[in-house]
């Protein structure tokens, strides 16, 4: 069964460093997303990406964040200068169409720890 894969599973970084979280969405999907879950809190939407551009973003997704689809398969989330409060589980997801039409499939997540 096709699945969304994320690497690495766990990343530790020093405050102020740049990190790139990587995702390989399901191959025929057109919509890509990043969500995050701070420990003990709800899963929060960060950004969606369609047709090589950001289609929607939350207020969490500020100038420190960027997304890219550098080739036909990868989808990345970059945090330019990490802060302690960026420590969270980051989930990548993809879907064939808008979430109101079909379900989104989630990866296993990357746990980011900022020290």
């Amino acid at each position: 069964e096709p699945e969304v894969t994320q690497t690495p599973s766990h990343q530790v970084t020093q405050m102020g460093q740049e990190v790139i979280l990587r995702c390989v969405p399901i191959s025929n999907h057109l919509y890509f997303y990043w969500y995050r879950q701070i420990l003990g809190q709800k899963v929060e939407f960060l950004v969606s990406f369609y047709n090589n551009e950001i289609s929607e973003k939350s207020e969490i997704f500020d100038d420190q964040f960027s997304v890219e689809r550098p080739d036909g398969s990868n989808f990345t989330l970059k945090i330019r200068s990490t802060k302690l409060e960026d420590s969270a589980m980051y989930f990548c997801a993809s879907s064939e169409a808008l979430p109101g039409q079909v379900e989104a499939f989630f990866g296993q997540g990357t746990r980011l720890t900022v020290v």
């Binding site: 709800k42 939407f45 969606s48 997801a93 979430p99 039409q101 997540g109």
Partner: protein, 115 residues
């Protein structure tokens, strides 16, 4: 504002007992609702979804959920819980018409199963 609420943070049931996890939504338009499960160290797996039509939906692993518009609820049920069902369960939703890309998640309900 659109929201999804899971009133129960933690529920403990005995193996073999029935289960009901509560989810309430607040959407002005027709909601699209989902239940996801997150096992320890794992990603978010879709259990079931409601888009329209039959208000009782069947999912994987023996779960079902009933959409009740009059109560703004989408509760998840299972007639007989197995120890492997111990996990965190998230209700999520979006709504029709606005073309929104994002899912709104509840805070999750952690399920513990007593042997």
């Amino acid at each position: 504002a659109q929201s999804v609420t899971q009133p129960d943070i933690h529920i403990t049931v005995s193996e073999g007992a029935s289960l009901e996890l509560r989810c309430n939504y607040s959407y002005g338009a027709t909601p699209y609702l989902f239940w996801y499960v997150q096992s320890p160290g794992q990603g978010l797996q879709l259990l079931l979804k409601y888009f329209s039509g039959d208000t009782l939906v069947q999912g994987i692993k023996g779960f079902e959920a009933e959409f009740k518009r009059s109560q703004s609820s989408f509760n998840l049920r299972k007639p007989s819980v197995h120890w492997s069902d111990a996990a965190e369960y998230f209700c999520a939703g979006t709504y029709s018409g606005a073309g929104s890309y994002q899912l709104t998640f509840g805070k999750g309900t952690k399920l513990s199963v007593i042997p």
